[in-house]
């Protein structure tokens, strides 16, 4: 009998000990895209506030959406503009009090203006994280600049380069280049235009044997494995800094300009810490190490000025600073018809290869 009591006491003690151990630090749970944050940002934040941060990564906004709607709970999410618009519409996000953010005044003013801010015009729900464009990275030794500039995204269908191109494995971005090349808006709801873009992509897949990847494109182009690739500006900035043969081009008929931003869901467990985290990310030091490591354009205006000034890390890098004030560029907006149509067609585009 006595033995049993001792055993119970030991188990209880262990349990209490564990509870105390687990509860000693505040916890923050964040959910963000892969390869999208400098490695030292989280450890530095953890040290500064003596907290524990759980990080989860997603491949695409759609994947994140499915997970949070299935009941995933996070304190901070970093989705893209059109997804934030959808989350706002569906009443999933909290309104933010930007006066709690000491570094908020540093946010680059271009992102607060149209067309960039269309997803959250009053900046009531989101704080920008990175911003950029989508363009073509090409090997200037094998692909003449004049040809890229003449054809825009259409060069991805030039059979001279069959087998030498990377496509990006994302329905939004792939359909975007097709819409733009056909002269349509990337936010169209016209079924004929959508089907034309679908045919455009199927033709590309059947004639060009593209390699469809996501983050592998970064290493692939930095190593010069292919001649052409659809790349986000930040990844392009990294590729250009690694391989001097590579160039970046955004078509003259316009491309997608985007903002990824930090938001706090209504069911967040630790809102105060979420504010601290957001404020920390946009602070000078953190934003600096983040943009240096990842290559995307910083939202902190001081950092942006510092890295692009003469002798700065991204001085002369044509991919780093996103194009602003160009009225043919568009942001994605949330459009239910288009969204459903694309997710239905995308798997068929991929299967057509």
């Amino acid at each position: 009998m006595k033995k049993k009591n001792i055993l119970i006491a030991a188990v209880m003690a262990l349990f209490v000990f564990c509870m105390a151990g687990c509860g000693s630090k505040e916890k923050l749970k964040i959910y963000l895209p892969g390869e999208y944050m400098s490695d030292d940002l989280i450890p530095n934040f953890e040290k500064k506030y003596n907290v524990k941060v759980d990080v989860e990564l997603f491949d695409s906004n759609e994947m994140m959406y499915t997970k949070v709607m299935a009941g995933g709970k996070y304190d901070v999410l970093i989705p893209s503009d059109y997804m934030i618009e959808r989350l706002i519409k569906e009443d999933y996000l909290q309104k933010l009090d930007t006066s709690k953010l000491t570094n908020y005044s540093k946010i680059v003013s271009d992102i607060k203006k149209a067309p960039y801010n269309g997803y959250d015009p009053e900046a009531a729900y989101s704080v920008p994280y990175f911003w950029g464009t989508v363009g073509i990275v090409y090997n200037s030794e094998t692909v003449p600049s004049a040809e890229v500039e003449g054809k825009g995204f259409g060069i991805m269908k030039d059979t001279k380069y069959a087998g030498k191109i990377y496509m990006y494995d994302s329905e939004r971005d792939s359909f975007m280049i097709a819409f733009k090349d056909l002269g349509y808006s990337m936010n169209t709801s016209d079924e004929n235009e959508i089907m034309a873009a679908y045919d455009w992509l199927v033709e590309l897949n059947t004639t060009m044997s593209p390699t469809t990847v996501t983050d592998e494109v970064i290493d692939g182009m930095a190593q010069g494995r292919k001649d052409l690739a659809i790349v986000y500006s930040g990844d392009a900035a990294y590729i250009l800094s690694e391989n001097e043969k590579m160039r970046y081009y955004t078509p003259s008929y316009g491309t997608n300009v985007w903002v990824d931003a930090m938001v706090i869901p209504q069911n967040a467990a630790n809102v105060d810490l979420a504010y601290k985290f957001i404020d920390y990310v946009i602070s000078y030091d953190a934003a600096m190490s983040n943009t240096e490591a990842v290559g995307y354009a910083s939202v902190n205006s001081d950092v942006l000025a510092e890295v692009t000034k003469e002798g700065g890390m991204y001085d002369g890098n044509e991919a780093y600073i996103p194009r602003t004030g160009y009225d043919k560029d568009e942001v994605f907006t949330d459009n239910e018809f288009l969204r459903k149509k694309l997710s239905e067609l995308w798997i068929k585009v991929k299967a057509s290869q």
Partner: protein
């Protein structure tokens, strides 16, 4: 024995919660439409119709079955001789070989598959060696070859171990009897060893065919983002498209195909046995 009967209950509860309930949910989702929250039921066959009437999807289905069959056949052809040779050794050496065969499975499958990308890449190990002999880089990655290689590599141990087990359990005196009665070694193998090891081959086929027909991470890593197999479509319906109804319907179609193919394999196995019995 009666007093042990109660011990079955935990297992019953476990299998109900972990196997029966999810299967029922898949069934429910497959035959309904409109959203992932099961608040109202709209019964329809729309999801099945969408898959079975679209040529693109049917092509993907055929491709998945072809890749799985090829993987399984290669695994049998490589696995049987390996198992046969191992089974001939002494006990100590046998154990060593089994250890070597199962050793790779100690490492996570994703890591091992990822290693192949480094080997098969255009500037990878194989192409560097070829380059040293002046051979132009061969595109191994993102092809059927790479996907089948990855699958054979990952699933071969299951085949070898299954066949090996049935070979070692075999009564060796039967072979001695056969040769005493004048059968040459070849006849001994085709008339005695092979039929007796068939159960191992059949369960090996099951263990290789099932994961390869539904695999999505090996095609994703070695076949690239647009190498679509049925597993990839199901995964994308659940994770990105968010259409659980369609995803469930495809899962159900796959489950039925797998059940049918298992049934045929069993039948073939039994048929062979019957034939053997009547001949003798």
């Amino acid at each position: 024995m009666k007093q042990f009967r109660k011990m079955v209950y935990p297992y019953l509860i476990w299998s109900t919660v972990m196997i029966a309930v999810p299967m029922l949910l898949i069934l429910l989702y497959a035959f309904t439409s409109e959203g992932n929250t099961v608040t109202r039921f709209l019964f329809s066959l729309k999801n099945f119709k969408r898959f079975l009437t679209d040529k693109t999807f049917l092509d993907v289905l055929l491709r998945s079955l072809r890749i799985a069959v090829e993987t399984t056949v290669i695994c049998v052809l490589l696995g049987y001789p390996t198992a046969y040779v191992i089974a001939k050794y002494t006990e100590k050496v046998k154990m060593r070989w089994v250890l070597i065969i199962t050793l790779p499975t100690w490492i996570n499958m994703l890591v091992r598959t990822y290693a192949w990308t480094g080997i098969l890449q255009e500037d990878g190990v194989i192409n560097s060696i070829l380059g040293a002999f002046g051979i132009r880089p061969v595109a191994f990655m993102y092809t059927d070859f790479a996907v089948i290689l990855g699958m054979v590599y990952n699933f071969l141990p299951f085949m070898v171990i299954q066949i090996y087990t049935s070979l070692t359990k075999m009564d060796y005196s039967l072979i001695e009897a056969a040769s005493d009665l004048g059968a040459n070694p070849r006849k001994c193998f085709t008339k005695v060893t092979l039929p007796l090891s068939m159960p191992g081959v059949i369960s090996g086929i099951t263990l290789v065919f099932l994961p390869s027909v539904s695999s999505f991470c090996i095609p994703r890593m070695l076949g690239g983002g647009s190498y679509v197999m049925v597993g990839t479509i199901i995964e994308s319906q659940f994770l990105t498209a968010g259409d659980w109804n369609f995803g469930s319907a495809i899962s159900l179609i796959m489950a039925i195909i797998i059940m049918i193919s298992m049934y045929i394999t069993r039948k073939v196995d039994k048929g062979e046995k019957m034939e053997g019995a009547t001949q003798s």
